[in-house]
């Protein structure tokens, strides 16, 4: 099935309570699949087509604030519209899943795949000091698997999480093993697991208030310091990445999502050409595998960041490398997927330095 369809099926199967979204290419199959599957008749999952991405993300805010497992999905321009809501959710510490099947920008851009939303996703996007847990799937299987993982991380840390995919993975068809069915949480389970949620003030408990407002400076600083402490904990505990042929690598390609699939091929081509290349694929874009990249800098002679954008993740790699070895970027723009051969030429240039 398609990556987008895998997201929808995984959501139904892993106890998602609600999906709120608005059509936009190349991810409309998520809402279409959910509408066709009618989960409200089986698991009781709510599916609602909103009037805009702005409304969608605020529906997610409302649902998450009431302790439910809720999600939305969109593509780049729609995700831009959601930034207000994402910032509010980060501020109010609400767990939720946002899927971005990204496309080329800026502006209306193109419906072709792109990874140009890296900055928007991991550097903020919305206003204020906040972080978004970001998972980057590189296969249809990971589209399915990361739904539950994203929810798990989101609820563990009371923080919104994003699956940052792209049009290639969303539209690609692969075999996939869908997760086992799991029932949605009961009201009692929500009350026990999310004692902060606004579900109705029971008995003698004081009211639960979900807000991101703290008008007094001291109050708002305290909120920010608590958020920052949480972000540091996530950075310590939740970094995920995959390595391929790195044990003896002399040159390293760092790439995520679709670009990582191309990079695997480039690694093989490079080895055939006598260049000992390896691949590091960040699975979490935030928290970023900076420490692992830093340690690999003691082993490899150069790094190539392959991205389907104008060079965004390369900045984080350079920060990790700290100027010890050359770090270069290569990518294509406008929805063009780089060919392995052209990437190999770039790797050769680094090897020739």
């Amino acid at each position: 099935m398609k990556g987008n369809e895998a997201i929808a099926h995984a959501a139904i199967r892993t106890g998602c309570d609600g999906y709120f979204g608005y059509p936009i290419t190349p991810q409309s199959e998520i809402l279409e699949t959910l509408a066709a599957e009618k989960p409200w008749e089986t698991t009781g999952m709510v599916v609602l087509q909103a009037e805009s991405e702005t409304a969608s993300i605020n529906m997610v805010y409302g649902g998450a604030a009431s302790g439910k497992r809720v999600m939305t999905s969109s593509s780049s321009p729609g995700i831009s519209l959601m930034q207000e809501g994402i910032s509010y959710m980060a501020g109010a510490e609400l767990p939720a899943l946002i899927v971005n099947v990204s496309r080329g920008g800026p502006g209306l851009g193109t419906i072709q795949p792109s990874q140009a939303d890296y900055f928007q996703t991991v550097k903020g996007g919305g206003h204020g000091d906040y972080r978004l847990i970001t998972l980057a799937p590189a296969s249809v299987q990971e589209m399915a698997d990361f739904v539950d993982l994203a929810f798990t991380l989101a609820f563990r840390y009371r923080n919104p999480a994003m699956i940052l995919s792209d049009g290639a993975i969303g539209q690609m068809m692969e075999k996939v093993v869908l997760p086992e069915y799991r029932p949605r949480r009961t009201e009692e389970e929500i009350a026990a697991g999310c004692p902060w949620a606004t579900t109705g003030r029971k008995g003698l408990r004081s009211p639960n208030i979900i807000t991101s407002l703290g008008l007094r400076s001291e109050e708002m600083e305290a909120i920010n310091l608590r958020l920052q402490a949480k972000y540091r904990e996530i950075e310590r505990k939740e970094v995920r990445y995959e390595e391929y042929l790195t044990s003896d690598a002399e040159y390293l390609i760092v790439a995520f999502g679709s670009a990582a699939r191309i990079s695997k091929k480039v690694t093989s081509l490079a080895r055939e050409a006598g260049i000992k290349a390896g691949l590091l694929r960040p699975i979490t874009l935030w928290p970023f595998p900076s420490e692992r990249i830093a340690s690999l800098c003691g082993q490899v002679k150069g790094i190539l960041s392959l991205e389907i954008n104008a060079g965004q993740m390369v900045e984080d790699i350079r920060l990790a490398a700290g100027g010890r070895i050359p770090v270069r970027w290569y990518g294509r723009l406008g929805g063009i997927i780089p060919e392995p051969e052209e990437v190999l030429e770039e790797l050769k240039k680094i090897a020739a330095l």
Binding site: D17, G18, F20, V46, L48, A50, E51, S52, T54, A55, S56, N58, M59, V60, Y61, G62, G63, A65, S66, K68, V70, E84, G85, Y88, A92, T198, T199, G200, R201, K202, G203, P207, N208, I209, I210, T211, S212, L213
Partner: protein
């Protein structure tokens, strides 16, 4: 009879609603928000819904409504309260879900969310405080500011050529098939307050009966931004607001 003989628990006839917290409200003297907060608090308690209410507060003067009424609250981004409420009610159908919004929040930045939540027939109630001005930000022009009315951003009076017409969003709401009860009330006299309370009760009841969306507009004063005493503001409202925003039910879909 001495005062001491009268002031006894068995003679109590009116007190601050139990759900209205003891913390003093930040509203200006004479602000209509206070009256409406009291009514909402009374209605929730009278319906026995204290433990089943999820309320949504706006951005605007009522942003801190969550400090004053003793139920669970979500504080929404500016204008987005009906989107939050839509999701919450669908996810928790047996809960009482209502939004509390001002004119800038509901009729300007949140027009889309308001219209579509009502049009979908969400089983929510919307309390809409219309004082024709932005109170919290310091008295700027609102979508509902009357023609000729002076505000910080139309200091020479609202001019239709510059600013367009005041928006009668309640009339629009009444036209939508998803609304079941649309009414315009005020809280400037005892009689008006009692009617407004009945309206809020009806809107909440309808939402629990699954009849669709209700909108209760409360034509209100903002004595601070209008630069009048509360008394004068009430008179000004009667003379200027009521002719343009006439009180009464605009729609009541009996089952």
């Amino acid at each position: 009879m001495t005062t001491e003989e009268i002031i006894r628990p068995e003679n109590l006839v009116y007190r601050k609603p139990e759900l209205l917290n003891d913390v003093p409200m930040h509203y200006c003297p004479g602000c209509s928000h206070g009256m409406v907060h009291k009514l909402v608090a009374e209605v929730i308690a009278e319906m026995g819904m204290t433990e089943k209410t999820i309320a949504i507060s706006p951005v605007g003067c009522a942003v801190f409504a969550y400090k004053y009424i003793d139920v669970d609250w979500q504080e929404a981004a500016h204008g987005r309260a009906p989107a939050l409420a839509s999701a919450v009610k669908r996810l928790w159908p047996d809960r009482l879900v209502f939004t509390y919004q001002g004119d800038g929040d509901l009729a300007c930045i949140g027009t889309g969310e308001t219209i579509h939540a009502i049009n979908r027939g969400e089983n929510i109630a919307i309390i809409f405080i219309n004082n024709a001005i932005y109170g919290m930000t310091g008295g700027q022009m609102a979508p509902t500011t009357l023609l000729g009315m002076k505000t910080a951003t139309c200091p020479y009076g609202r001019d239709v050529h510059l600013h367009g017409y005041p928006l009668k969003i309640t009339e629009i709401a009444a036209l939508l098939d998803g609304s079941c009860y649309v009414t315009r009330q005020a809280v400037h006299t005892v009689a008006a307050i009692l009617k407004a309370k009945k309206a809020i009760r009806k809107a909440f009841d309808y939402s629990m009966q699954g009849r669709g969306a209700s909108l209760v507009e409360i034509v209100s004063t903002c004595s601070t931004s209008w630069k009048m005493t509360p008394e004068k503001a009430n008179r000004w409202m009667e003379e200027n607001m009521f002719p343009f925003y006439p009180l009464g039910d605009l729609k009541d879909s009996k089952p």
